[in-house]
């Protein structure tokens, strides 16, 4: 079975933008190893000649007419934003 290191778990957590302590990473390493081990069972299936299924239904080129419709109201949307000023969303300084 794949041996997941704490560093690997923390690397994936970093990619997923989830802050994680070493203790948490250790717990997740164990849980993820179970899931990976469980998923490795798939390797026994012969899929040489099998296409991938990316979607349950064969719908192609779903298009609609390009007609302008009402957009969501900015004031309403800003009510869900924790910090904003003059109609703009505030975040920590990035420069």
């Amino acid at each position: 079975m794949t041996q997941l290191t704490i560093d690997e778990v923390k690397r994936h957590a970093g990619l997923a933008r989830i802050a994680m302590t070493d203790a948490e990473a250790e717990m997740f390493a164990e849980q993820l190893e179970d899931m990976i081990g469980f998923s490795n069972k798939l390797q026994e299936v012969d899929t040489e000649q099998v296409a991938t299924m990316t979607h349950p239904l064969p719908l192609y080129n779903v298009l609609r007419k390009d007609i302008p419709t009402d957009a969501l109201d900015r004031e309403e949307m800003l009510k869900s934003v924790k910090e904003h000023e003059d109609g703009q969303i505030k975040v920590p300084t990035i420069l």
């Binding site: 989830i18 798939l42 099998v50 349950p56 239904l57 969501l72 869900s80 920590p92």
Partner: protein, 487 residues
């Protein structure tokens, strides 16, 4: 009053004869919640003032032009967005999130004249099968309060089973409507993928998610699916297939129906009670003129890993939107933007959600993309092909909705692989995109069991026909939990 015991059709006739008003129906539902929900804990929030004032408005509308669901109360799983009403997906991430638009299904139930009573508990972001993973509360099974209602739509199923509402919507990514319906002794439908718009459903796994109705009987369920189904410009994965009046399918005539019963659905890990209940149900269906034989879905045993790889991969992408900036939880005391993302997500997502995001990241990462994600997509093709092969010869496929009755609260969470093994009965249906319904088919130690009927793409009508014929020939759906009478 005992209005909560009646069907939609019975209530419609009472409304029509002015023996009851929409406001009285709404008040009764709210009273039931007041009386029962301290024990059941199905609702995360109720919508009392808005519901009562809407009911008053509806009472003023003329009798002509009222549809079969007019004026009837409904509860919504809390991952279905409701304009102006907090929608949490049972996560701390969305604890105070007030959507600015309604989901398409909410528009449709409003058009049908239904009254939204409140929002229902669930596993956080629909990840779980017991409703114990809600960030806010644990819902209890109305049949025995020490047991789980199933999940992830556990609040929806429990609210219907408790008689708090006769109608609820849930969502089903890998069994999350059917399994709680089975555990709570009610009727739950997972429609064909694309039958019901997902616009306004908080996304978990977009190639699997589907909203479905939960009700106490098959006819009510058929009415609700007819109301919410259909092509939606806001969801390009909805199907252009016409939506039939599903109630018209309830003829009771299933003579000559061909049923396939997969050996894999009555195999290892499925309890004797669940097997016996299915065999008894098959006898009932035979007596109504159906024929059945044992068949095989040979790739079923791979469905659970395929499901976890695909659903976690899609979830890791879908849940990337929760960044602590535009809406939802925002961490405090951070130094920079990176920390804002990482701490908001770390502090607001529960352990199960983090685990699935991490597993999805792992499966999609360059190192394992081929052997996990792409491999799963290929095996998914084989699972879908298993169903297509059987549906060339059979009209429906039947098995249990769950391997056992409900578990005791706290009992099984220690062993995730046991929970995953249970998925074999439900997740292949989502992977193949076909519809399936769960109807009550028996009891074991006072807890309900569910019969699962699986159909061809877009053939919900046949599922309703078979489920209704079975329901009318049995009396499981007429039994009610002890707490109904307030004992």
């Amino acid at each position: 009053m005992t209005l909560f015991k009646k069907t939609a059709t019975e209530l419609q006739s009472l409304l029509h004869n002015r023996e009851v008003s929409v406001k009285e129906l709404t008040a009764e539902s709210l009273n039931r919640i007041e009386k029962m929900d301290g024990q059941v804990q199905a609702f995360l929030s109720t919508n009392e003032d808005q519901a009562l004032s809407k009911a008053e408005e509806l009472d003023k509308l003329p009798m002509d032009g009222r549809g079969p669901l007019f004026g009837l109360p409904i509860g919504l799983k809390d991952n279905i967005v409701t304009k102006g009403i907090v929608t949490t997906a049972a996560s701390k991430m969305l604890e105070d999130f007030v959507p600015v638009y309604d989901a398409t299904v909410v528009d449709k139930i409003n058009e049908a004249g239904m009254v939204t009573i409140g929002k229902l508990n669930m596993d956080e972001f629909a990840m779980g099968s017991t409703t114990e993973r809600s960030a806010f509360k644990t819902t209890h099974n109305p049949w025995n309060l020490e047991y789980v209602p199933g999940g992830s739509s556990g609040g929806s199923a429990a609210a219907v089973a408790a008689g708090e509402v006769a109608f609820a919507l849930g969502s089903d990514t890998g069994g999350s409507v059917r399994q709680p319906a089975a555990f709570c002794g009610v009727v739950g439908m997972k429609p064909t993928y694309g039958r019901v718009s997902r616009s306004g459903l908080v996304a978990f796994a977009s190639s699997l998610d589907q909203i479905g109705p939960i009700t106490r009987n098959v006819e009510d369920n058929a009415l609700l699916l007819s109301a919410i189904a259909g092509l939606d410009p806001k969801d390009s994965s909805t199907s252009p297939q016409a939506v039939p009046d599903f109630r018209a399918a309830l003829t009771g005539d299933i003579k000559g129906l061909k049923i396939g019963v997969p050996a894999e659905y009555l195999g290892e890990g499925v309890s004797a009670e669940a097997k016996d209940a299915v065999m008894d149900a098959l006898k009932v269906l035979e007596s109504l003129g159906a024929e059945w034989e044992e068949v095989s879905l040979p790739h079923s045993k791979y469905a659970s890993p395929v499901y976890y790889v695909i659903s976690s991969s899609e979830a890791s992408s879908n849940l990337a939107r929760f960044d602590g900036i535009r809406y939802g939880y925002r961490a405090e005391g951070v130094q920079n933007l990176e920390e804002l993302y990482a701490h908001s997500r770390s502090e607001a997502f529960g352990t199960e959600v983090k685990k699935r995001i991490l597993f999805g990241m792992y499966a999609l990462g360059a190192a394992h993309h081929e052997d996990l994600y792409v491999k799963s997509q290929k095996v998914r093709t084989l699972i879908a092909q298993d169903f297509a092969n059987l549906f060339e010869k059979y009209d429906v496929i039947i098995g249990p909705s769950s391997a056992t009755t409900a578990y005791k609260i706290g009992e099984k969470l220690e062993d995730p692989l046991t929970l995953y093994a249970n998925d074999i009965l439900t997740v292949p249906i989502n992977l193949a995109g076909v519809p399936a319904i769960s109807v009550p088919c028996g009891f074991s130690n006072g807890l309900p069991l569910g019969l699962q009927i699986i159909g061809k793409h877009y053939d919900e009508a046949t599922l309703y026909k078979v489920a209704h014929a079975y329901e009318q020939a049995t009396d499981f759906h007429t039994q009610t939990p002890v707490i109904w009478e307030g004992k």
